[in-house]
């Protein structure tokens, strides 16, 4: 799909077209998974696979950035963050299965990694986030935007239509809840 087509999907979704959102998620899923897989296959060993960077990169690669405003970028990144979470979870599940079968452990990052994502951590974070979303859905959304989409406080505030101060407070609450939750998970 061309940059113009993806850009149009983004515009259509923002204008209230829900099918466009699904189409956009599909594009993102295919695109982001391909990048992640390439990295895993060792094609670009020097690449550090940091999800927020990938999501930002996807925005620059897929969208005609000159015709999208800030709010549009935040919407896109929010959606990409959700997709990224799904991809990371899917991959971690697959690798976990592989580990059980072959007793082999692969890390998601290669080379001089800036980040080490442990599969188990991803899976437990995902599970904890699902629980958090039952307790307070907005809190899990803040985590998705900040952690998986890499939005800063102001951008998260814009994307969620709440104040930056609220974002900060909500993030801190979500973080404490998640840390508490993850700590009590044995083997995390």
């Amino acid at each position: 799909m061309s940059q113009a087509e993806v850009t149009n999907l983004l515009k259509a979704w923002r204008a209230g077209d829900e099918p466009a959102r699904n189409a956009l998620m599909n594009v993102l899923y295919t695109d982001l998974r391909a990048v992640a897989s390439r990295a895993l296959a060792g094609e670009q060993a020097a690449i550090s696979l940091q999800p927020t960077a990938l999501v930002n990169e996807a925005f620059l690669r897929l969208v005609d950035v000159h015709s999208i405003d800030w709010q549009g970028r935040n919407h896109f990144l929010g959606l990409a963050g959700r997709v990224m979470r799904q991809i990371l979870v899917d991959q971690a599940r697959r690798r976990n299965a592989a580990k059980r079968d072959w007793g082999r452990r692969i890390t998601l990052t290669g080379g001089a990694a800036l980040t080490q994502f442990e599969d188990v951590e991803i899976l437990s974070l995902d599970a904890a986030l699902n629980e958090l979303s039952d307790v307070d859905e907005e809190l899990s959304r803040v985590v998705e935007l900040r952690f998986f989409a890499g939005l800063n406080v102001d951008d998260t505030a814009l994307a969620m239509d709440i104040s930056p101060a609220t974002v900060k407070r909500r993030w801190r609450a979500a973080r404490a809840w998640l840390i508490d939750r993850l700590q009590e998970t044995p083997g995390g």
Binding site: A15, A46, R169, L178
Partner: protein, 828 residues
């Protein structure tokens, strides 16, 4: 994994979040108090507090920003505070620590997180940063914020150190200092000079907006932020790297048409942005305000709409900080700004030097280029783009012209007694000059930019007061004509001040009961009606009618009553409407047919509709036939109003079950609509829907189906909730029913009911009643009389609410209901 019961409760989480609003020192005490006597809650909150204080490498790693640079030393610079954080980087205030003097500066650094991007992106980012550094190093200009230093942090993040500008953004500065026109232009000339230096280096700024143009405390202009600048010279380092910088996408308010379309950006795009800046600087507000719109809407406006002329914009609302007036901008400065704002890049100024030269010409009183050499362009563009506008402007001027000449004639008659020939000549001249001025506004050779109809009328309204100071009765006539033209064009906000001012003058010049005053009152009544204010409309018409006397022309009386009758009918005051219209018709019958503007068909068509609404079908039919006879007997092309007359009579025939007579009338109405309105007009769709109904009633199902199909095509562009499309769905259900597909017809009807329930407007009550009646009919066909009567009862209730108990449609529904109730009793 632990089970869910192990996680902290919602109550504890909420309480913990609330406690974050307390200061750190108070937090524990505050929480102890809140959890007093609730040990479980207290324990849960404690766990959150502990977690909050702890570190979590995994959760925290994604969020590191460069914020922790504060306090660090980068090269010779100590970082003081974070000034701004954007998508790609952060800007800090720093000061120089070595050397003897205290130097403040701004330090810009790539956002750490993005720098962790993959190799390709990282290289592009570095190249991008390199470009900005290069750009700033190359441009040595007093009005461009210069670069002081550069380097990279211990983490390898590149940074730039730039001149720290102490001042305020351009717009704030002019607002605060209430600059004169000359001072504003001087500031702008400095900006043009800076842009000249930028362009001389083959660099496009691409993000020119008021917040990127600072004015220092000493009044010096400083151009900032080359963050998304583009190097046009393809040999330069970093050229072509620009595509990835747009994460800091430009504000749509300041984007050029080619930018929003994603087309190549050139120097001409900066010229356009300069035009927008000057527009706002002189006109007081933005040429376009699109940031609240969706990108698609914004793109459409930026690429297609011509902005209001800066002088008109200033006339509409002048901010208090602007001391100059619209007249200072009209002509040269309007033309200069509009030339920079051309949609076609090639037609803008070719450089900032050229623009500066034109402003210089204006300042020295020489003819500006923006108004020269462009007549052919303007005329071509005018004819190409504004064929409709030309016609509209022409029509307005023509309507005004005729109206004004008539008004003048009236005024002349009124003052004949004075027999002051000189004064007559002066009045005639004033009126004809006024007209000439108006007409020349529509002339593309005289106006720097094609005026909109609104522009013409606004100017007209403004100029009236100055023109006729010595002739209040002429002023009243001119204003009333202008106001009435505006009402007919739907420009109610502009019409009201004109009609009101005219009324004051008329009262002063002629008093109550004078034909001019009566006509003015009637116009004000119609204006109130257009604004949906029935009581106000009634007050004006009653006032007008109370002024009728033996001297009042009969035609004037008839037309005032005719308008009033139409207004009353609109609000379903049918009995009152009929009474007023009968009086109108009686007066019209007394008018000498040779009177100018006499129209024998003026009232009877309205009378037909009102009588039809009242349910007197026989009388209504007679009126319709008379209306049609009068309109058909007119010489020349067919009267457009005939399409309604045919349709209304066909509807009446249909209601009376006279299908064979309804069909040909229907077809005549449709043929006329096709001829006059074209193949896509919604009104054609409505008529086709009616044709389907008539065919259905005649059991000509294939013809009905064909008409529905065509109507669906014609109506495709209307919203699904439009009355026409809803009625069409009912017709489809009825056709299905007639074809014997009862279940499908029932399902369709219920789906339609559900959609109707979500809508609220005038006619939906009647449509809903018709759907209920249709449902009743289906149930009756299936021998489900119980369901049939309850559906019919709903129709009765609705029609009673909409039309009243005695209305023939309500009575018809009552009859249906009785039939099913009787059937039920027989069965029971």
């Amino acid at each position: 994994m632990a089970d869910k019961a192990g996680s902290v409760s919602q109550a504890a989480l909420a309480l913990f979040e609330l406690s974050l609003e307390q200061t750190t020192a108070n937090r524990r005490a505050w929480l102890s108090q809140k959890t007093l006597g609730q040990p479980e809650l207290a324990a849960a909150v404690d766990r959150l507090l502990a977690a909050d204080g702890g570190e979590h490498s995994f959760l925290d790693q994604g969020l590191k920003t460069a914020a922790d640079l504060v306090g660090q030393k980068l090269g010779a610079w100590r970082v003081d505070e974070l000034l701004a954080e954007g998508g790609m980087g952060s800007v800090y205030r720093v000061h120089r620590e070595d050397g003897d003097f205290q130097q403040r500066a701004a330090l810009k650094v790539i956002r750490g997180q993005l720098f962790q991007a993959p190799q390709l992106i990282r290289e592009q980012l570095l190249a991008r940063f390199q470009v900005e550094r290069q750009v700033l190093a190359n441009i040595q200009h007093d009005n461009v914020a210069g670069i002081l230093d550069g380097g990279s942090t211990s983490d390898g993040l590149p940074y730039l150190v730039m001149e720290f500008i102490e001042g305020e953004p351009l717009n704030d500065y002019v607002r605060k200092h209430r600059l004169s026109l000359r001072q504003r232009l001087d500031l702008f000339m400095h900006l043009l000079s800076a842009m000249g230096a930028v362009h001389a280096n083959l660099i496009v700024h691409r993000d020119l907006k008021p917040s990127n143009v600072m004015v220092t405390d000493t009044g010096e202009v400083k151009l900032l932020d080359f963050g998304i600048a583009k190097v046009l010279d393809s040999d330069a380092p970093g050229a072509g790297a620009y595509t990835m910088t747009g994460a800091s996408a430009m504000t749509p308010d300041y984007a050029s048409p080619e930018q929003v379309r994603g087309e190549p950006v050139t120097l001409a795009s900066d010229i356009y942005s300069l035009g927008l800046l000057l527009y706002q600087l002189l006109g007081g507000r933005a040429a376009y305000e699109v940031s609240q719109l969706t990108p698609a809407e914004a793109e459409k406006i930026i690429c297609e709409d011509e902005p209001t002329l800066p002088s008109s914009s200033l006339r509409q609302s002048a901010p208090t900080h602007i001391k100059h007036g619209p007249a200072d901008l009209r002509g040269d400065l309007d033309a200069i700004i509009m030339k920079a704002l051309r949609k076609e890049p090639a037609l803008r100024y070719s450089s900032s030097f050229e623009m500066a030269a034109d402003i210089e010409r204006f300042l020295s009183g020489m003819p500006v280029r923006a108004r020269r050499n462009s007549r052919r362009y303007r005329l071509g563009k005018f004819l190409r783009r504004n064929r409709g506008l030309l016609a509209a402007t022409g029509a307005v001027v023509a309507a005004l012209g005729v109206g004004l000449l008539l008004a003048f004639g009236q005024a002349r008659k009124a003052s004949l007694a004075a027999a002051d020939a000189q004064s007559e000549a002066a009045k005639a001249e004033a009126v004809s000059e006024f007209l000439l001025d108006l007409i020349s506004q529509g002339d593309p050779f005289e106006a720097p930019q094609a005026p909109t109809v609104r522009d013409v009328l606004e100017t007209a309204g403004e100029q009236v007061g100055d023109r006729f100071l010595d002739h209040p009765e002429v002023e009243a006539a001119v204003r009333r004509t202008l106001g009435w033209t505006l009402v007919n064009l739907g420009k109610l906000d502009l019409a009201e001040p004109q009609l009101t001012a005219a009324y004051e003058k008329n009262l002063a010049a002629h008093g109550l009961g004078h034909p001019s005053t009566i006509q003015n009152q009637s116009n004000l009544g119609w204006l109130a009606h257009e604004k949906d204010e029935l009581p106000e409309a009634r007050r004006w018409y009653d006032l007008a009618i109370s002024g009728f006397g033996p001297e009042t022309p009969k035609l004037l009386q008839a037309s005032v009553l005719n308008d009033y009758g139409v207004v009353l009918g609109w609000y379903e005051e049918n009995a009152a409407s009929a009474e007023v219209l009968h009086r109108a018709q009686a007066l019209l019958d007394e008018v000498d047919p040779s009177t100018p503007k006499y129209d024998p068909a003026m009232v009877v068509g309205n009378l037909a509709v009102t009588t039809h609404q009242l349910g007197d079908l026989e009388q209504a039919e007679a009126y319709y036939l008379e209306d049609i006879r009068l309109k058909e007997s007119r010489p020349g092309s067919p009267d457009a109003n005939l399409m309604y007359s045919y349709n209304n009579l066909a509807t009446l025939k249909y209601e009376r079950n006279e299908i064979d007579e309804a069909l040909p009338l229907m077809e005549r109405s449709i043929a006329l609509r096709r001829e006059i309105l074209g193949p896509e007009h919604p009104s054609l769709g409505r008529a086709l829907g009616n044709l389907a109904l008539v065919n259905l009633k005649a059991a000509r199902l294939d013809e009905a189906e064909a008409a529905v199909r065509e109507a669906e095509t014609v109506n495709a562009s209307q919203p699904a909730s439009s009355d026409t499309r809803l009625r069409l769905r009912l017709t489809v259900a009825r056709i299905r029913h007639a074809r014997g597909d009862l279940q499908q017809a029932l399902d369709d009807s219920h789906a339609l009911l559900a959609d109707l329930a979500a809508i609220d407007h005038r006619e939906v009550g009647e449509v809903t009643a018709q759907v209920h009646l249709h449902i009743a009919l289906i149930h009756a066909d299936r021998q489900e009389l119980d369901a049939a009567s309850s559906a019919a009862a709903q129709a009765v209730a609705l029609r009673t609410a909409v039309h009243g108990e005695d209305h023939y449609l309500t009575q018809e529904a009552v009859k249906v209901l009785r039939k099913y109730q009787d059937g039920e009793q027989r069965e029971g």
